[in-house]
Point group: C2
Chain length 126, copies 2
């Protein structure tokens, strides 16, 4: 069940769960959709913040997907959590950066939002 | 711009293109959506073929995405190419396996097809 993906010249091994015949030689393919979204919006937000002269000392994007009960099971609900730490992190500006990513820049968001309800939250950590 | 993604316990580095401030330390986030689709449908098809007692000596899934002109740019057209090699590869059975993946099993297909036109072809190689 293992596949080696070649993307932008990088190799990524993906594999199924041992429960369904895989050998866990790499991540499952389905959550890679969420990684794609996290990376896309994360890069947007950090670069918009940089233009606003905000450089967090910690920045993390966690993405949770809720699967349908029926087959084919897909993420019909996706929740994105932006976590930031640093002095002078201004919630309003982070909100603005997140909204710019969603409305104008993030192509993965633009595609996935056609099939999933996507919510988000921003956490400013101490 | 580099992010380390943690998925199913595996770490994947993703990064932007140097042209937009990245350092090419990993693949771009956007094509990971296509990897997710390739892996999902690829695993389906190979396991369905196995149940049909077809075991290709070569199996590859290539996915091409066509981006919108307008921002946010997203894949509005996706083309999946299933390539197989081996004795006794029966086109009709491969078609059946591909259709089962699309209609019943592949959760990534089910999500992406809500926002993109997804076409496919099967190539049986000599």
């Amino acid at each position: 069940m293992a596949f080696e993906a070649d993307v932008n010249g990088f190799k990524i091994m993906i594999d199924a769960d041992p429960a369904v015949g895989g050998e866990n030689r790499g991540p499952r393919p389905k959550p890679l959709t969420l990684v794609s979204l996290a990376g896309c919006t994360g890069m947007d937000v950090i670069s918009i913040l940089k233009k606003m002269r905000i450089e967090p000392e910690y920045f993390n994007v966690a993405v949770e997907g809720d699967m349908t009960e029926e087959h084919p099971k897909y993420y019909h609900k996706i929740h994105v959590i932006y976590e930031l730490k640093g002095i002078d992190i201004d919630m309003e500006k982070v909100e603005k950066a997140v909204n710019l990513s969603r409305d104008r820049y993030c192509g993965v968001f633009a595609l996935l939002v056609k099939g999933a309800e996507i919510t988000y939250e921003i956490r400013i950590l101490d």
